[in-house]
Each structure stands twice: as C-alpha cells, then as structure tokens.
Symmetry: D3
C-alpha cells in the first residue's frame, strides 16, 4: 500500500483508502464527474472520476473503504485521476491504517479499567459497573472504539477509554490523598462520567455529533443510562443513585459549560478537577506534538486563552 | 377559629394552627420548655410550652396541625402561653386556611389543562400526556397540589398547575400565530415542561427543595420522567422523544440558568419565552399586590435589576 | 424582463435592473471603464462598461434603476458586457421586482394596525397614535416602506410594519391574559416602539444606517418623536408621556442591548418580551426558509448561540 | 443656634432645624404622638412630640424648617422632648447651615463656567450655551443649586456646578493637548453633559430621584433638553446637533452604564474620560476626608473594587 | 489553665489568654474602663477592667499574652470582671494553646518538603530551593509558622507549609503520569509558588494582610524573591529563571484571579490545577468538619456557588 | 533611492531596503531560490533570487538592510527579480527611511521628559528617576528607540518616549488640579509606568514580543526594574518603594487587563486614567489619519466597540 504522504505526481497508484467525502459535478461540456477526498492515517488527497459510468467504476458511498487504480496528475499538487474503483469488504483493510488511534493498546487500557472496577467495594456500585463494563457487550464494543471528542482532545479511536482510565486513575490517587473523599463513589463516577459519549458521537470514521448528541448531550444521556442500569440491580439505594448521577451531571463544573448542576458533593468537585486536568494535559500534549523547536512560541490558543510555548527547562 | 392576625394581648385562644417549627430549650433555672412558631394563612405567632411534661401536652412534630389552648401574653408583642395542645387528624382542618393557595379553582384549572391535552393530535404525544395527566393518579395528586417554586413566583398550592396551564395557553397562541411552529410538540412540551417539580419540591406545608431536587434538579428529572413514560407507549418515535426532551432540557434558555442545552429547535425557543414571560408577569403581579399606592417607587428589585413602580396609566 | 438567475453565458440581454454599486477603473492600456453590480430580487450579476464615453452610455448613479443592453460573457461565470445603458424613470419599473419585500400585503397590514389603534380608549394615547398613523403623511409613507433591520430579521420592504403589527398583536393578547397590564399603554407602546427606525435606516434600496441612526439610535429618536407629537395634544398628562417614553426606552430589556433604562413598569417588561419573541421567531423562520431537509443540522448560529435544526415532529 | 453635634442630655434647646422625616404613632395607652428626625449640617437627632394637639404645636411637614423648643432626654442617647414647634418662613434660616454644600463659592464657580462658555467660537454652539446658562433663569437657578448625585460623589448643593466646571476644565486641557479634538464641540458637550440632572433629582433638601428621573434618566432628558433649545436657534446645523447629542448620550462610555450608544466620535471618548476621572477623584477625596491616619487601610470599596488607603508618600 | 469553652458564670479564673483586642471607654459616670476580647484555641470571651489605674493592672497591648485574675459575671452570657492582669513573657505559654494550628506535625511536614527538594536534579533549581529552604533561616522560620490565608482555607499556623507540601506532592504525581511535564521545573515551582505569602500576611496571632501584601500581593513578591535568590547562584540560566517566575505569576490561572499572565507553559497549567484542587479540597473539608449529620444540606456556599452537602455514600 | 511606492513594472532598481523576511524554496525543476519581502517606510514589495549561488549574491539574513540590483517584473503586481544583493553596514542607511517613527523629535521629547524629572522634589524619587534617565546609558538608548506597542498605538520608533512624556504631562496637570494627589509620586510613577516595555519588545525593526515579555510582561518587569534601581539608593523608604511599585502594577486598572492589583491609592487611579486616555487618543488619531472624508463612517472598531467616524463639527 502506498501511504498518501508518499504519493508523487506521475505515480501510478493501486491502493485502498477511506473515502471521506464524495460529491457530483458537471463539466462545462455537460459531462458528469465525481470528486472524492481520500484519506489514510498519513493525510488526505483529492481524486476525480471522469468516466462515471464506465466498467471499472463500481458503486460506493462516502465513508466506505475503496480500492482505487489511478494516475497521479498535477492540479495545484497531486490529484488522483481514478480509472477503477471498488468498495472493499470488512477484513480487507485494517481501520487503524486509516483513522487516528490511541497510542496505547486498547486491551491493556481495558485491563486497567477492570482493575479500577476491582477496587470498588460497595456492592451496588460494583454491580452497576459490571452492568456496563462486563455484561453489556454492545456498550463495551462502542466504548472501546469511541473517541472522547470530535476534535479538541482524545479525538481518536480508543480516546474515550484512554481518557476514562486516566481520569479514574487520578481520582483513585485523590481518594488516597484526601481521606474524606468517598473512594467508591468517586472511582465509580470517574469510570462512568463520559459513558454518554458513546451515544453523543457516531462511530468512526464519521465521529460526528449524533442527532441525540446535539439535542440532549452526553451529560444527560449518561445520567439516564446509569438510571436504566441501576433499575436492574435489586435494592440499589436511591440516595446513592442520586449522588452518582449528581457527579455525572456536575462534572463539567460550571453551568456555562453545560452542567445543569454545580458540584454540591466533594466527590463531584474532585471529579471535575480530574476530568479538566486530564483534558488540558492531553490537549497541551497534542499541541506540543505538532512542534519541533523547544522555546518557540506557538501563537495564541483559544482554549488556553494564551500564547503558548514548549518549555526549555534546563540548559 | 381565631385567625392569627386577630390575636390580641390578653386574649384566650382555642384554635387549630399549623406548627411551622418546634425547638427545645432550657430555662436559667434548668427547666425544659419548647418554642413553637404557629402559622395560618394570615400570618404567624410565637408560642411557648413551659410545662412540657404536663397532662394536656400531647406529642406532635413540626409541620403537624395542632389544636392549642393558650393565653396571649406580651413579649415584644403577642406570644401564646400554651396550656394544652394536641395533634389534629386529617379532616379536622382545611389546609387552605393555613397555606398560601392559588386564587384560581384547582378543578377548573385542571379542566383547562385537559382541554389543552385535547388539542394535541399526534397520537404518541397525546398518549404520553395521558400517561401523566389521566393515568398516573399519584402524579396527578402531586401535580395539582404542588407549587411552582420555593418562593419567587407561583409559590403556593396549585401554583404548578396554574403556571403550566398559563404557559401552555401562551404556546397555543404562539402556534396559531407562527405557523411554522409544530403545534403538537410545542403544547406537549409546555404541559410537561415543569413536571420534574413534583419531585424537586417536597409537598406543602414544607415546600422546600428535596434531596434529589438539589442533586438533580427538575429539568433533568422531568426529562427522565418523560423517558420512562414514553417506554410504555409502543412505537413512540425516538426522534420525537428526543425533540420533546430537548424542549424540556432547554426551556430555561441559557446554560447559566441551568439548562444543559441551549434551544436548538424553534419550539424550544418559543417555550422558553412563554415560560419566562409567565414567570415575570406573575412575579411582577405579586410585587404589585404588596403595594397600595399607584405611582410610588418600590425600590430596587434584584430579579428585574431595576427600581420598579406601579403604572399610573391615565389621569 | 430576464431575471438575473436566468442569465446564461452567450445570452443577449435587454432589461431593467437596480444598479447596486458603480466604480471606475483604468485598464492596463490606460482606458477608463466602469464596473457595476446589478441586482434584482433573484440575485446579482457583474457588469462592465468598456466604452465609457460612447453614445449609448447615459449618465446614472449607483442605486438608480437602469435599462441595459448587454452581451453575457464568461468571466468566472456570467458577466454583462454593457453596450447601452440609460436611467429609468419612476413608474417604468416595479420596485418589488428588485428589492426584498414582505410576503404580506402592506395595505392589509396597515388595516390591522389601524384596528389596533381603534382598541385604544385613552383619549390622549389615541390622539397620539393618530398624530403618527393618520395625520403625518410623510411618516406614514416611510413607515409602510421601511425595513425593521439592516439584515437580521424583517430586513425587507414592509418589515417595520409587519413587525409592529405582530408585536402589538402579541401585546393585545398579553393584556387580555394578564389583567393587571394597562392595555392602552401597552398597545400604544407596542405600536410606537420602533418608530425611530424610519430615521435610523435610509430608505430602500440602500437600507443602511443613517448618520443620525449611528449617532443617536432608534430608541432615543423614537422617544423624542413621541415627545414632539405629544406637544401637539392639549393636556397630554406628563406622567403618561413619561411612562410611554419609558416603555420605548426600555424595550430592549437590558442596558447592554442599548436600552438606557431597564424596564421599571410591567408594561415595559411585557413589551420587551413581545418584541424579542417576534424578532426571534422571524429570524428562525428566515433561517429555516433557507433549508429544505427536515432533521438536518444547520450549524452554529451566533444569535441563538446554538447549532440549530428544523423540527421533524412526527413520523 | 445650637448645632446638633453640641446637644447634650439635660440641655434646654431653642433652635431651628430641618425636619428630615415625620411619622405618627400610638402609645400603648392609646395616645397619639409624633416622631421626627431633625437635621443640620453637623448631624441629626431624634425628637418626639407627645402632646400633639397642644397649643404650642403648630402645623408643619417633613422637609420644612422648624423652630423647636425642647428638653433633651436620654433614650439610648439624646432625644428631644419637643414642647413647642412652628414652621419657619424662608429667610429665617440659612439653608447652608442644614444641607451639605460645596466647599467652593457658587458665584465664583459660575464665573468660571461663563469663562468656559466664552471660549466657544462656533456661533451655534455659543448661542446654545447661552440659551441654557444666560437666558433660562429657572434652569440657572436649579443648575446652581443642584447636586450631581444622590450620594456617591458631588452629592451636595452646588455639586452639579462644581462637577461641570471641573469636567469642562479638563476638556479644555485635552483640546489643547490633542489638537485633532474639536475644541468647541468638546467644551460645549462638557458644559451640557449633565444638564438632565436638574430634572433627574428633586431639589434639596430632598435630593432624591424624581419620577421622570427614574423613568427616563438624565442622559436621555439632557439630550432632549438640547434638542428643544436648539430649535430656538435659527440655522442650527443638524449634523452638529446630532454630534452634540451623541456626546451627551455616550458620555457614560458603556452601554451597561446606561449610555444608549458607545462613543463613536473622539470628543465623546474624551468627554467620557474627563467625566469619569473627575467623579473618581472626587469620590476618592470624599473617602479620604473621612480618615485621619495616613497609611491605614480603609477596607474594601465597592466602586473601586479594592481595599483603599491614603498615600504616605515620603518620610 | 481553664479553657474558655469551660468558663461558667460564677467561676473564679486565673489563667493566661491571648488578648485579641483592647479598647477604652468611659462610663456614664465619667470613669475610664477597658474592654478586652480574650482568646484561646477553644473560643473567645469578653472581659472588662473597671479599675484601670489600680495596683494589679499592669501595662499590656492587644495581641499580648496576658495572665488574668477575674470573676465571671453574667452579661448576656459569661463576662470576665478582671481584677489583676499582667503581660506574660515568651516561654510562659504555648502559642499552640491559643492559635489555630495544623493538625499535622510541622517537623514531619518539613521533612516531606525536604524529600521533595531531594527529587530535583537540575543543579540550578536544586540550589535555588536550598537558598530558600536550607540556608535562609529567617525565611524558614516564617515559612513553617505562616498560614496560607487570612481565612478561607489553611488559615492556621503551619497552613502554608501543609498546603505547599500537598501541592508539590500532587505535582510530583502529575509529572509521573504526564511524562511531557518537566518534573524539576514543576516540583520547584510548586514548592515556591506561595513563598510570597510570608510577606503578604503578618505573623500570628495577627495573621492579617501586611501593607506590602495589600500593595503588591504574594504573586509579585514571590516572583521577586525568586529573582533575588537566583542572583546568588552563578550561571543560573535566564530562560530557566523566567520559566520558573512565569509559573509563579500564572499559578492563579486567570487574570481576574490576580495572575498578571495566563499559563503559557504546560507546567504552569499543571501547577494551577494542583493549587486549585488542594485549596478546594481543604476548604470543603473545613466546611464538612463543621457538620455532624451526613446527608444534610449546608446552605449556599459562595466559593463553590452551590448549596453543599456531605455525601451519604452507602447504606 | 527609489521608494517602494514608486516602483513600477519594467523599472530597473538599485536601492537599499530592509529585508523583512527571507525564505528558501525549490522550483519544480529542482533549483533552489529565495523569496524576500523588502520594506521601507512607504510600503513593502516581494523579491526573488533565482541564482542563489551566483557571484553577485552575497550572504545576508532577514532584518538586515540590503542593497539590491533588480529588474521589476509583473507577478500579480510588481516583483523584484534580484540580480545582485549585498548587506549594508550601519551608517550606509538611515533607519528612519525604513521604519515607522514618531512625528516628534526624539531629543526634544527627551528634553521634556527631563523637565518633568526636574519637577520632582522628593530626593529619593528624584534619585530613582536619575538612575533610569540619566545614569543608565543602555536603558536610555533603548527607551528612546523603543515603541510602546507591537501594533495598536504608538507602535513606532520613539513611541514609548512620546507616550511616556504625554502621560506624565497629563499627570502633572492632574496633580495641579486635584491637590490631594501626591505630585511627586504621581509624576514619578507616570515616567516609569512603562519602563518594562524596553524588555517586553525586541528592538526595531523586529519590534515583537520577547521571550521574557511573553512570560513575565512589562508590568511585572517594570516593577522589578524599579526594585533593583531603588537598591542603589541609600535609605530609600520601603513604604515609598511599595507605593511606587503599586502604581506600576495597578496602572492597567483592572485585573482582566493584566494588572495583578486593582488601584488602591488615588495616584494609581489617576495614572490609570492618564495612561488609558493617552492610548485611546493616539489610537483614534491613528484611525482618523487613515481617512480623508469628514463625516464618513469608518466601520466597527474592536477596541472602541463601536462604529466610528470623524467629527464634522461645524458647517
């Protein structure tokens, strides 16, 4: 396979790419053509199909993986003049070649998540966590694959899992350090704080807000999902369910960030700080990854409301 | 019955009052006594029980209705020196003599509410409304009796019903006027927008925030209640359920007012305006009711962020 | 007449258009030419006059209606190569072919406005309304023709009238519903709330902020206009004039929206809600008019601070 | 005359005071009495009239100057037991003994104001200033006597004049320093910027917001007053009137401070700075006047949003 | 010694207390007396010296430790009628009996701080830390004794040390977890982030803002102190000094919280989160310590902008 | 010398320009070339060096002054095809031909600054000013040459000096007018308020934020510089140093504008107003300088949050 960042004008290409978008057009002479954007993990490239009805051009849609045969021409940079195209079947390609993925192994992270589940001793909370992370296979599959965001931070396959394990790990440390925190409640809330995101974002490669994501948001959906699972557990104490839901609802910390309640419990405060810190650290890391030169200023960043730079540290 | 605003120093009293609060104390000479605050719809008065263990003093708690025999003494104004007291049974008193109540008849308002239900033609929404307002007797009882607020506006028995009928009536008018509004969705959302308040506030005479009210709030609880009822209705379209929940979630109009989502549908915008207008009109009305003189300035009001006055209008 | 959205490369055109702008240039060879933007209600198109001094090219200015004879050439799309041009006289064209206009009939709306005037029983307020809407012919002409905004909402011929009738209609309903509102004051204030806009915007086709519009704004100018008219009415009570002016000054509801006073009278509160609701409904309607697909998200909207979508409603 | 700060328990008093307030009461034995607050420039003291109907007690109202004969008794400090009282005629007392007054001579300040008027060379602006400060005797009388605020700064007789002269003096200096400022416009605007305050505040001793002050505010009223005077001057250029009014409307600098327009002209910017600086300097001066010890912290001040202290400067 | 919370009316007292305040007065009969507030770690009590000039009454000032002989009388609760008083010498009393102190041992915490210093490997940063925490004995004494605040959180003897160790401990964990953080810079910044507080607050028992604390604040003073110490270290890299100072200046995270710069380095971001979390946890802990009942709501808290309650957790 | 705004296609050019930027590229045929931006005070122009290694092309860097020989070709406007280039030595060119400079003479302004220094009578403050403006030659050179900003206002050679003299001149006037201001402190603070800018901005022609400028800011650096100089003056009173530093720290007036302290001294308030006024006047002047037509609206300006226009004034 030829990665997109290796394509040069004049090449002949025969490879599989993810078709990010597909639109139809009409030339000045009245002929139909199609414009594609092809993507793999190294970048994206434009492609054109001029002979739409011809033999080698099979049916496919945007977001399909397609096998293309093309000549690379120069049109303000390389452009694929596509001669043949067909839709690939699952198994013919490895999605990790085409999508942003976590740098950490998903199974390993899931193992860490289960270790954290193992720390919870309250029988109701433990049972609730198992409803999500052990028994609900559809949820598990989505949760492992999902991103934690459309862009911003952790916007890659496995991102939701990576962020969740990291936040819950911080919360475990906070519970050790600040003894008055309710350890079981805090770890459980951390592990569940973003479960609503499996419904807020469509799965990769699209990874965009769903209709219910836009209308309801992951905070309210996450609280609802907890309520539904808790119904399956006999004797789940109502006050415990409400405290847990409160932590989910309040975890953005401020009304203007979309939490319908400000943190009223100390565990909700701690969760808010852990979530926010992990998001900011990952965001800054992703910004720094794009730079090579220590000590150079990166320009004004809207999220941090500051001009940023990488630390020099010592000489 | 002697109303509290008619009690004079030197009177002998034998009447039933609501015991708003009850606390114990010890005199300088080491004797136990109890301090009460007694209330009816005309005001409140302090009472003392000096002979706590004596024959005529039966057991009761704060928020009980109690029958008292007392002499009225002067202690910076009238105070009841209580000789005998007993807890009343339901039926011995009429709560409307003791609590703030709507000036409108509750049955009549409920009839108007059912008329509005009758306007909804979408079969799923109509079925949902009936789940609440026809089939769920516990809910109906609470809804008719509940207030719409702890203080601010509509803070009286029947206030939730009065406010709901008023907002839904406005929405009906808006749907007639702005034809692009979805009439069924808007009226349904209006009728259900505050149903979570039956769980946010404890019932009268307490009428204070409940634990779940503080932790979750009526917006999220209302959305959940709708989700639970919708499960009982076969084939309820998911997109319709989400649109309806969105209207509930967004009806405060701004994140900083506790809505986890800003209005994204035009019906959510309209509902927000109707709810806000009705609340402001009722609040202003309650402020004006406390004044007698047209044209006099009432001082700075925090909600309206302005010095207010009653209108003179014409001469 | 050939509408602009029907013009094709290679066409010969002989039609009347509104000249939106006109600028002079010099070719590389040193020859003068003129660049025009021509407009009708279907869109706009560029035009060039290469032979500026030639016989068929008569004098005209930007914002004149002009009759052009031209060939349509291809210059990144169609462009009119104008051979002949002359300024049209009033009567030769129908402005509604060239400008955005209300979808409602202006006479009919004015009739509704007069019906609302007829509801006012206070003799001073009625006389004041007649000073504006019956006796002042210049004002009436401007008011019927004016827009309610430069862009945003009701930005079309008749928009001010349409918005005014709609807001006053809402206020009439509010006065019926909330009996403590002073009906005469509220309807009068609604009918006059935006009269300053006839001075804030220049007339169509320009429809831009005037100098005094920028310096003083329609709120203050509207209050002044009321003061001037009230002087013509013997015995107009001062407190009534001040209450009415207050409603005008406060109708934006917040200082940061340009009102020099927050609403202090309940009628000022009600007017603010009516004005705001009508503006938001019209704005949302104009946004939805641009979309065809129910259920599709329209992207983030600055005014509503939300991603918006059209309602699906039922299935 | 015995000043209030010299009154001691046991004194016999026969002096004239301003009656700040007067309320009626009933004793426990059912007898009518009257409670007064008496004021002079040194402070205030309570007084009681126990024999309301007796011979020496003549009619008077709150805000009258009254001559009292009284014994000073001890009631948590001195209290006047009033035996005789009568209302004084104008001329019997000097208001400056009873009201806060400017430390500067009013005639001298008015002379400075007229010098500033003399600097204006534009004939229309000069004529306008003379309409106010030379020809309108009622206005002049009010303007000389009025305060610039209810409390805050310059809240004393002559305060409006003192503040006006000071602001206009600053503007004169700014016009000398920043040559691109229009000197005539700026000085005129400074002299007229607060003329609306003669209608916003009632005259001393009351010095409270008037009804129209609350409803319209001095900014809008000042602009209107200018419009009315300008009508008397033949040929007053409209653009000049609008620029001047704009400076008045914008002189608070921000919408949230009650200006309906932000400064759009450089003179409006300069006027805003001069007005704000003079108000802040006077406020700080009044705060410092209440302190004796250099270097001591005065506590958090709301207006300055800071703990304040007097400067030590040098040692 | 009799602790203040054990004093009863009728007791005879002979103990040492901290004199929190001392004011002079004159009785109605013209005699001088002195009013004291006496304090120990269990509370405070009023005292009076009626015979100011008598033999047993020696000289002392507010904030002295004094030995008193007194009778306890009843004046709306117990009050000390002081017969004899003398100022104590250092050594006669243990300040920990009179002041709020950390619940942790100061030497132990200082040991932890030195362990954290030991982790820093960069030779310049290590040398700088030793300038403060090893070599500067005056600083060390103040730092160990100082509070971290006037009230809010850690407002007790040893509070600054406790908070510093806690924040630096968090930062050590963050550096382990987020590998791209510069560990040496972050730990150093954490250990020094509040050193300016030894100059911002006067020492106990006063513990109030100093003059320079009010004028300059601990953020700027801390940055200056670092600059001065760094001058003592040959070859200290300028960029490293600036990065460290930046972390100090930015550690409040937002301009409106008194940081003159927003965090621009990732270590400054991490420090801000650690500082804020530790402050919030300690504050919540202090709030919870005042309550006994799990599950009861504690009322609206300004810092957290929420009604708070202790967690129930499980049943 | 041929100024850049006089260069025409086809010209032969032999002149000295400032090389604002320099980047390398590779042509499609694999040959190296260099792209330059050349600048003088009249504008900027692109240049290309196609024969990078040829004889006439000597070494130089961005921000050097270079002497070029070139032909002017047409590439969407004039472009210099550079044949020969060499770096100039200091003295071969006059920087004022290449950089924005103050319209006022630098020596004359420095004379005014020294006059202001001469007004200060407090011996410590006078000595401090002389440390900066008389004794520190490096500082003086930088201060005379520096700009007061990267863009916004006074962004030219001599701008810092011009702004400083102007602000201190205003403060002198304020001290004359408001007698309670400490004249020596205020004038000293004004003269030193922006000294940190010589370190915040790199020198011309770059004039960009330095690393320490970004990390620490001119406010904190200015305060530090004062502290360092004060150390050289025996007996400099600490309270005076702190008051002066406070004025520097607080001179932006609000925390959100980067001041770590709000003004607590009246001189800090006055300095804030003088600084802000001078900045706004200069900014408005620079905006007006770009316009020719009196009375025309200049569009929305972000700094002034308003559409602006030049004043017409009179007719």
């Amino acid at each position: 396979m030829k990665y997109i960042n290796e394509i040069r004008i004049g090449d002949h290409v025969n490879s599989t790419y993810l078709c990010k978008s597909k639109t139809s057009g009409v030339t000045k002479t009245g002929k139909n053509f199609e414009s594609l954007v092809l993507q793999d993990k190294t970048g994206s490239v434009d492609g054109k199909i001029w002979d739409v009805g011809s033999a080698g051009i099979e049916d496919f849609d945007a977001l399909d993986y397609i096998d293309v045969v093309a000549e690379v021409v120069d049109f303000n940079g390389p452009q694929l003049n596509i001669k043949r195209v067909r839709k690939c079947r699952e198994g013919e390609y490895d999605p990790r070649d085409y999508l942003p993925v976590s740098s950490r192994d998903i199974d390993e992270m899931y193992g860490e998540l289960m270790d954290l589940v193992g720390l919870v001793r309250n029988k109701y909370l433990k049972a609730l966590l198992e409803e999500f992370f052990v028994k609900d296979e559809d949820f598990i599959k989505q949760f492992r694959f999902s991103s934690a965001a459309k862009s911003v931070h952790h916007g890659f396959v496995g991102g939701l899992l990576e962020h969740t394990v990291s936040v819950a790990g911080l919360c475990r440390i906070y519970a050790d350090k600040y003894k008055f925190l309710n350890r079981d409640l805090l770890i459980t809330a951390a592990l569940l704080h973003d479960v609503g995101k499996v419904r807020e974002f469509s799965s990769f490669p699209e990874n965009d807000y769903t209709d219910e994501g836009n209308l309801l948001g992951h905070i309210v959906m996450g609280s609802e999902m907890i309520g539904e699972k808790a119904k399956n557990i006999a004797g789940f104490p109502l006050s415990l369910e409400n405290e847990l839901k409160h932590c989910i609802l309040a975890h953005h910390g401020k009304l203007e960030f979309g939490s319908p309640k400000k943190p009223a419990l100390v565990e909700a405060v701690a969760l808010n700080y852990a979530d926010d810190l992990d998001a900011k650290m990952e965001t800054f890391k992703e910004i720094l990854n794009g730079t090579t030169e220590k000590g150079s200023w990166l320009g004004f960043n809207k999220l941090f409301e500051s001009n940023l730079r990488a630390t020099i540290g010592e000489e």
